[in-house]
């Protein structure tokens, strides 16, 4: 993290000097102020000065975007990265042509990419930031598809009173199915199997028999 220290007669002067050197405004930095007292001859003529330490606030979104862009260049994939700062995460959306290779089977490549970017960006950070990587809105569309699938299959289970086994899904995808059907009284959901083949089962609620 970049920081600068300046000493001046007043806090304001020291701060202004430091900001000038960093070329930023006050909202982009953290400021620490220290008082320094220098005793003159015979303990008389003490002079007071302020030392100000100004540290650049880190922009995690920018850092994550930069890291992902460099990865894409190294992969030989021409694409743009948009950064969205949300309340509980930072979403990086990749836009470009033929980005299927970034998604992979069931979004496996996308999940791997997201995992690596999270590790790289959060290394040495005490407060971990959750970074979500999406390709052309793939995750959002997939979530909608899963919600629709969950409701459709739940209806079938309710009608036929027979449990249905869904295809293997990642933990995140399984969570979407569980949460979609949480308020659905006629069925209950659970997962079976071992990763990466773990899958959700939608079963009729048994108390009606």
């Amino acid at each position: 993290m970049k920081s600068v220290e300046k000493v001046a007669k007043t806090k304001e002067e020291a701060l202004a000097e430091a900001l000038k050197e960093l070329g930023v405004t006050e909202d982009k930095v953290n400021v620490e102020v220290f008082e320094e007292v220098t005793k003159g001859l015979l303990g008389l003529l003490t002079t007071k000065a302020y030392r100000v330490k100004v540290t650049m606030k880190e922009d995690v979104g920018q850092a994550a975007g930069l890291f992902l862009r460099e990865m894409l260049v190294n992969m030989g994939i021409p694409a743009q990265v948009e950064i969205f700062k949300r309340k509980d995460n930072i979403t990086l959306n990749i836009n470009g042509k033929d980005l299927g290779i970034l998604i992979g089977k069931h979004g496996q490549t996308l999940d791997a990419l997201q995992y690596l970017v999270n590790l790289a960006v959060n290394k040495d950070r005490t407060e971990k930031e959750r970074i979500i990587i999406d390709v052309e809105g793939y995750r959002r569309r997939r979530e909608e598809t899963l919600r629709r699938l969950a409701l459709k299959v739940a209806d079938k289970v309710k009608r036929e009173h027979r449990r249905e086994v869904l295809e293997p899904m990642s933990p995140h995808e399984r969570r979407i199915i569980h949460s979609t059907l949480q308020g659905y009284k006629e069925v209950f959901t659970y997962s079976e199997g071992v990763e990466p083949y773990r899958h959700v089962i939608i079963s009729p609620q048994e108390n009606d028999s």
Binding site: E70, M75, I77, Q108, A112, L116, A120
Partner: protein, 77 residues
């Protein structure tokens, strides 16, 4: 592809200056060998190999596009 492995590896370890990534060709297959400081081995492998698995997944999807076979290995030299 070597650059990708180098970038990611350097970002994950405590001693980026000790990272060496080499690329070899043998029987139509590309081998990318990573060497890191012994203290950093766990940072590249991860719990149950999760980190190196993710790295391999990303590298392989690129290799597939180029109709190539690429293996990523960690050496202990």
């Amino acid at each position: 592809m070597k650059d990708l492995v180098l970038q990611v590896t350097k970002a994950l370890v405590d001693h980026p200056e000790d990272v060496i990534v080499e690329e070899f060709e043998r029987n139509n297959q590309t081998l990318i060998e990573i060497t890191v400081n012994p203290e950093d081995v766990g940072k590249i492998i991860g719990k149950q190999g999760r980190i190196i698995k993710a790295l391999r997944t990303v590298v392989k999807s690129c290799a597939m596009r180029d109709n190539k076979k690429v293996a990523v290995e960690l050496t202990n030299r």
